[in-house]
């Protein structure tokens, strides 16, 4: 989880991702940052995001939700 938080803070240095939730705080991730985020996660955790997940804001609304997704991908 710390690795993920580091990646997120690299993109948005001044957001506290332990508390941030897009469903409450409003959308944050802009389109080009999404590319960076996915690329960084794929490298760090050695996973590959299936494109089908890229259409679903529900998987990306908070650090916890993204972490959940990474663990699922790692298991596959």
């Amino acid at each position: 989880m710390d690795d993920l938080l580091a990646i997120l803070n690299d993109l948005y240095p001044d957001v506290d991702f332990t508390a941030y939730d897009a469903r409450v705080d409003g959308p944050l991730i802009q389109s080009m940052e999404m590319v960076e985020l996915i690329t960084a996660i794929e490298e760090k955790f050695d996973v590959e995001f299936p494109p089908s997940l890229m259409g679903d804001p529900d998987h990306f609304h908070s650090a916890a939700a993204i972490w959940e997704l990474i663990r699922r991908l790692e298991d596959e």
Partner: protein
């Protein structure tokens, strides 16, 4: 008969296709007939209120309703100034100070923000304006006096001194642009646009006016879909979108996330991109996914009414850089060197200069800055002829096409937005507890880096900037330094700082 006013397009399409959807989003579909009716109700209300030949600020959420308010302002013989619901208060105050508007149209999404401003003019509720009984005799009288050099809009771009610059365009320039652009993009009545550009930048002219002119349809794509590209492609397919004019980064994002392997945009036939470089790898992925589509690179400054140059990619395009090509019909684009001599030989850089009907009226209420950028054509002094000096450097390739090189100054492009680094520095300097600030741009990573010296904490500075700058101008990275490096003559050593920051 040459056209005088863009409303002629609306009049004709509303008479011909009253039931056909013109502008749509997920909550509202405005057909041409209803769009026309709304514009006339709003126009009547403004005329009754005594507004004429002046700016009408449209401070509304993005969507079909805002578009109808634009045309309502034009019906009253005014010009519209689109503002964004998400624009920070400080920026709106600067814009209001420059415009001195007497009328602002708002909706539910902006009611509170407008009430929080020190605005002395009339705040007009969009929904209430629609109730006005239409007075066609008054509207016809206003139109009979219209001429094609009347302003149509003012849009704001970043200004290096910290104040946004308002670029005012006239009907004639928009008509000239839209008619020539539509030929190049091959727009017709069957065109269905998927719009990405915000309404407060001139990029949205590409959808608004061809839609009116041909009786086509524009769908506004929800903004968040540009972060969740599978939804984006689903949307394009569901609405049968066949024409898109987006910033290159929107296309890049879809390709970089490998969406095109999963789902193909089925109906796209015209794909226009611009404002930034389209990486060749991602471009290839798009061309593979849409083999039947035409791909066009567009280039142009706000000061010359939208786009000035285009390049239609040939099927066998190979090359690592897409040219910006050559000018639209009735526009002249040429290069000048530092001695103001025309550059015609290939591979020699020069400043892109533009002349033609596309030249806008200049910067609103700012004759000094207008005179700096809109100058007498230096190639002759025999009669009055203005050119616009873009500050962009380009060169011709061996086949005579223009290739964009870089900026002459500290203007940058990020996600298609034109940004003056000076405006960010100026916003930072106005924050208490900060002694010096310097803003850099990492071209490779497309990141804005702000370095500063002072007592204020990074997070506090970030918060303060959020209240002053639109989201797209906020620095990606903020560094606090003991002091900023200086050059021997005491200026901030921008190049030195850039070297040390980017190589750190």
């Amino acid at each position: 008969m040459p056209r005088i006013n863009v409303l002629e397009y609306l009049d004709e399409s509303a008479a011909r296709l009253p039931e056909k959807p013109a502008f749509c989003d997920d909550s509202l579909r405005l057909a041409f007939g209803e769009l026309d009716r709304r514009s006339r109700a709003i126009g009547t209300a403004l005329a009754l209120g005594g507004f004429c030949g002046e700016p009408v600020v449209v401070f509304m959420g993005k969507g079909p309703a805002a578009v109808s308010a634009f045309f309502g302002a034009l019906r009253a013989g005014c010009f519209y100034v689109p503002l964004d619901e998400e624009m920070p208060r400080h920026r709106i105050e600067l814009i209001f100070a420059l415009l001195q508007p007497r009328a602002v149209i708002y909706d539910q999404s902006t009611r509170a923000a407008l009430a929080g401003l020190d605005f002395q003019g009339e705040a007009l509720c969009y929904d209430a304006l629609l109730e006005t009984p239409i007075d066609d005799i008054a509207l016809r009288k206003i139109r009979s006096r219209a001429i094609d050099t009347d302003p149509i809009y003012v849009v704001f771009t970043s200004g290096s001194t910290g104040k946004p610059k308002g670029v005012a365009a006239c009907h004639r320039s928009v008509i000239d642009y839209v008619e020539n652009l539509s030929q190049v993009l091959r727009i017709n009545e069957d065109t269905i646009f998927g719009n990405q550009a915000p309404l407060y930048v001139d990029a949205c002219l590409k959808e608004l006016y061809p839609t009116l002119m041909f009786g086509a349809t524009t769908w506004f794509v929800p903004k968040q879909y540009f972060s969740f590209p599978l939804k984006l492609i689903e949307f394009l397919n569901e609405k049968r979108v066949n024409t898109v004019c987006w910033v290159a980064s929107a296309f890049t994002m879809v390709a970089a996330l490998r969406i095109l392997d999963e789902l193909r945009p089925e109906h796209l036939r015209t794909i226009a991109f611009g404002s930034e470089v389209f990486p060749v790898k991602q471009l290839k992925a798009w061309r593979k996914a849409c083999p039947e589509a035409r791909f066009l690179n567009l280039y142009g400054p706000t000061e010359a009414t939208g786009m000035s140059c285009f390049y239609a990619l040939p099927n066998d395009f190979e090359g690592d850089k897409v040219p910006i090509g050559g000018p639209f019909k009735n526009t002249d684009v040429f290069l000048l060197d530092e001695q103001n001599q025309r550059v015609e030989q290939p591979n020699t850089p020069g400043e892109i200069c533009i002349r033609g009907t596309c030249l806008t009226l200049g910067y609103y209420a700012d004759p000094a800055r207008t005179a700096q950028s809109f100058t007498q054509n230096p190639l002759h002094g025999r009669y009055d002829e203005k050119i616009y000096r873009t500050g962009d450097l380009a060169q011709y390739n061996e086949t005579g096409e223009l290739l964009f090189l870089s900026r002459k100054d500290y203007q940058i492009k990020r996600a298609g937005y034109r940004i003056e680094l000076g405006e960010i520095e100026s916003a930072a300097h106005s924050v208490e507890g900060l002694h010096a600030a310097c803003c850099l741009f990492d071209d490779a990573k497309k990141k804005i880096i702000l370095c500063y010296a002072g007592d204020i904490l990074r997070a506090d500075l970030n918060e303060a900037l959020k209240a002053k700058l639109p989201q797209y101008m906020l620095p990606n990275v903020i560094h606090q330094l003991e002091a900023l490096p200086l050059t021997p003559n005491g200026k901030i050593d921008r190049n030195g700082l850039k070297c040390s920051m980017l190589n750190a």
